[in-house]
Symmetry: C2
Subunit: 493 residues, 2 copies
């Protein structure tokens, strides 16, 4: 209480001295330095230690109390704030931990993280050469390097805040190419449009169709085979179906690496269909695009060079082989993109973006790439495939694990069949009981904090696990642990 009063009075005094900067840089930098040590200790040392928990589960009410989230009238002292940094770290999930297999991201790369810290400290926006000279040039270099992986000598692109946004850009570009008047007049003046994507494509296609005024019922879902790959005969049929309903097809949204099964749609035959029908082929490679780094595995995306646009792996960017980005998105803000600047105004790339302020995303990837080279990135991809192969082999040796198809990529989908259900496949309640296994195992693992892995139903299949093998810090031991742990948690079910 006394401290608060003292702090209050100190602030009042400061207020009378408008001539003094409000911030004490020395104190601030000291805090940042101390906090950096906490981050290093809690997130990067403990956070990757297999002897520590992946997550420290708390019920929401308890967690809210522990964190003391409330924002108050007066500020706190530095040592209290440092404790808050420690608490936030403690109760957050350790996605860097070798036993975090829950999402399509995992592990830590120190050069990438350095790139992020530097980006945040520099705190600028990507829109003009004036305020982001380094990053305008750097983004261009990264994009053209990725473009060359795809097999293009030229094109255009942009980093986006996530794969969903990349897919939305593609939908807008495709619509604009087909009907340039849409920018001025809106979808209202257009015929009913039709988009095609596989049943197992990412849900962002639906979000995009809703958000961009196309409508979710105008997304035609193409059937997939057992692995989750688009059946191109059905694509042709769905295109005819849409036409017969009076809708105008304009975009095929193919997927390289589906979210759950990691399936790759066959790009060559899809491109053939797009050519014949005059449709835009977008390839959502937000998950699978990293195979392009690997001589051994890039065949999964054979035909990729025929795309009109693509969302690239993890990196969350859009590549487009037309010079459409600016025409489609520009609004010519005179306060940013002055036409009488003293440098080449084509360097002000901000009008390609639907955003105004746009965070710098290229440094992270650039620094990591500089650190390990294309060769190092290729090695990571190849290792992930090798680890996946190993996991699958080990899994097949164990009685309780039933694979859902052979993985094409690094997603390993499987049911764990507890002893009580083995050999009961024909019981009428088998599917129902099986569907309850994964949620219970998941609850147990989270509450014990030993590891994290996702599950879901899909199509006609009841809940199954989806294990993701991508972290560069994985070893065989982690795979063995994974299998042992699933058994330990589920054997009495």
């Amino acid at each position: 209480y006394i401290t608060t009063l003292a702090y209050k009075s100190e602030l009042r005094t400061k207020q009378q001295h408008l001539n003094e900067p409000l911030l004490d840089h020395r104190e601030g930098q000291l805090f940042l330095t101390e906090a950096f040590k906490v981050i290093l200790e809690e997130v990067l040392c403990k956070g990757i230690d297999v002897n520590e928990k992946v997550c420290e589960w708390r019920e929401p009410e308890e967690l809210a109390t522990l964190l003391d989230l409330e924002l108050r009238e007066y500020g706190e002292q530095q040592h209290q704030l440092l404790q808050r940094v420690r608490d936030v770290a403690k109760y957050s999930v350790k996605t860097n931990h070798p036993r975090f297999f829950n999402q399509l991201f995992a592990g830590v790369d120190y050069h990438a993280l350095t790139g992020r810290f530097l980006t945040e400290a520099l705190n600028t926006s990507q829109y003009t050469y004036e305020v982001a000279p380094v990053f305008v040039l750097m983004e261009d270099e990264v994009l053209s390097k990725l473009r060359s992986l795809v097999g293009w000598a030229q094109g255009d692109g942009i980093f986006c805040p996530g794969g969903t946004m990349s897919n939305m850009y593609a939908m807008n570009l495709a619509r604009y190419r087909a009907f340039p008047e849409v920018k001025l007049k809106g979808q209202w003046a257009l015929p009913r449009l039709a988009v095609f994507t596989s049943q197992e494509s990412h849900y962002s296609v639906m979000k995009a169709a809703a958000f961009q005024g196309i409508g979710t019922e105008n997304v035609f879902k193409v059937n997939v085979d057992d692995r989750g790959c688009m059946i191109t005969d059905d694509l042709s049929e769905k295109i005819e179906l849409a036409k017969s309903q009076g809708a105008v097809p304009f975009l095929v949204h193919a997927t390289s690496g589906t979210t759950v099964q990691g399936a790759f749609d066959p790009l060559e035959p899809i491109a053939d269909i797009c050519d014949r029908q005059g449709l835009w082929m977008h390839v959502d490679a937000a998950w699978g695009g990293s195979v392009l780094f690997s001589k051994e595995h890039r065949h999964l995306m054979r035909g990729v060079e025929r795309w009109e646009s693509g969302a690239c792996s993890g990196i969350q960017l859009l590549e487009c082989n037309f010079d459409l980005l600016k025409r489609c998105h520009s609004a010519d803000a005179t306060y940013l993109f002055q036409q009488d600047k003293f440098y080449d105004m084509s360097l002000d790339t901000g009008d390609k973006s639907i955003q105004c302020g746009r965070k710098v995303d290229c440094l992270k990837l650039w620094l990591m790439w500089k650190a390990v080279g294309s060769q190092g990135l290729e090695e990571r991809v190849d290792r992930a495939f090798a680890h996946t192969r190993y996991l699958v082999e080990e899994m097949m040796k164990r009685e309780g694990f039933q694979l859902i198809g052979k993985p094409e990529f690094v997603n390993v989908c499987f049911w764990f069949i507890p002893p009580s259900l083995r050999g009961k496949e024909n019981s009428p309640d088998y599917q129902d009981r099986l569907s309850k296994v994964a949620p219970v195992i998941k609850e147990r693992m989270i509450k014990q904090g030993t590891m994290m892995v996702g599950y879901q139903p899909l199509g006609g299949r009841v809940n199954f696990f989806r294990m993701i093998v991508i972290s560069p810090q994985l070893s065989y031991q982690d795979m063995t642990f994974f299998l042992d742990e699933i058994e330990r948690l589920g054997n009495n079910l």
Copy 2:
């Protein structure tokens, strides 16, 4: 060359050892620690020193060479990478510098920056309580605290990647409320819609209309007064005009703090019109919303509690007083939002978002707020106003400065009239010559690196400067420097 070979061979050896993690954590953490020191030194010490340059201008070709941007087959050694960190810092614009007045952001807050570092190190996504327990609760706390500033006891909201995205959310929500069938059927099945916004509102309204299938010609631009505030009589007229053209009005996009002049649209009368017409009132307070923290200045947003949605200051978030976010944006991805989770699934807020993965943005603001309290935030706002007042007074004492209206907010718009143009207002080439003054002064200041400030034409006015007074580290000396420097750079024009 030898090093590269050695590195290559080392990697090959590693490749044979799939059982060893690829990453050396000790080495990585050492690198991060060294890089942190460089960031502290280059960005946070030199970067805020008035004796150092705000920017280190280089022509693009020269800069590309200096940075050696090319991404190659093999990686580099740690000391080279550390030099790259140093180079990126050196040639980047120092937005933390006290003489950076170029954009609507400036200065550094060490607690906010700590929040960003911690967020990046934790590297999770905001979509579920499962992977972001701390941040799901924290986002809710920050949003409801901001909501209470607006004057609401309840509502909904979300952090967005920028003000433009917030405005797009609002446009989609407003359309969905008016025509819920749009999600399924698309804009194609709707009548022509009409949006209303002032001539000086942010260009993102146009981007949103284009992107979301509404069409830019369906954005009706309402006239503004000299200060840049919407004229509500003209709003009523434009609504009638739209109706007479057969368009259906659904959204008024008002602005609290326009980008160039910092004008506040009169919310009470606009809300009256929206009530009468049944229109959604969105308030784009992405720039001006911080006045809500100040008892002295919050009158600028009188009537704000009557909004249906708002984009809030600098914080880049959307607040909405309906429970529409989820219904409007949901796609029910079963692999993320499992319906058989063991905790309260309303905590999985990801389906409110149009994004799938969503970066954590709340920690930065939360930690800063904890550090200074509401009182400290209020003080910052009041200080910015006080500094603006001081700058304006000093400006009026000097012969060469001609204000464009009295600032309502912290944007100070003015022409610098060089001695050769003073008293020549009636010359036929006066406007033409005046329009060339700001670009030349800007070029000179950037090439010398002494400070950065923006300029633009607006409406019928030729190029004028827009000075932004927000950094908490400003002092009177910086204002004096600013005026002296404009004179020094422009006196011989």
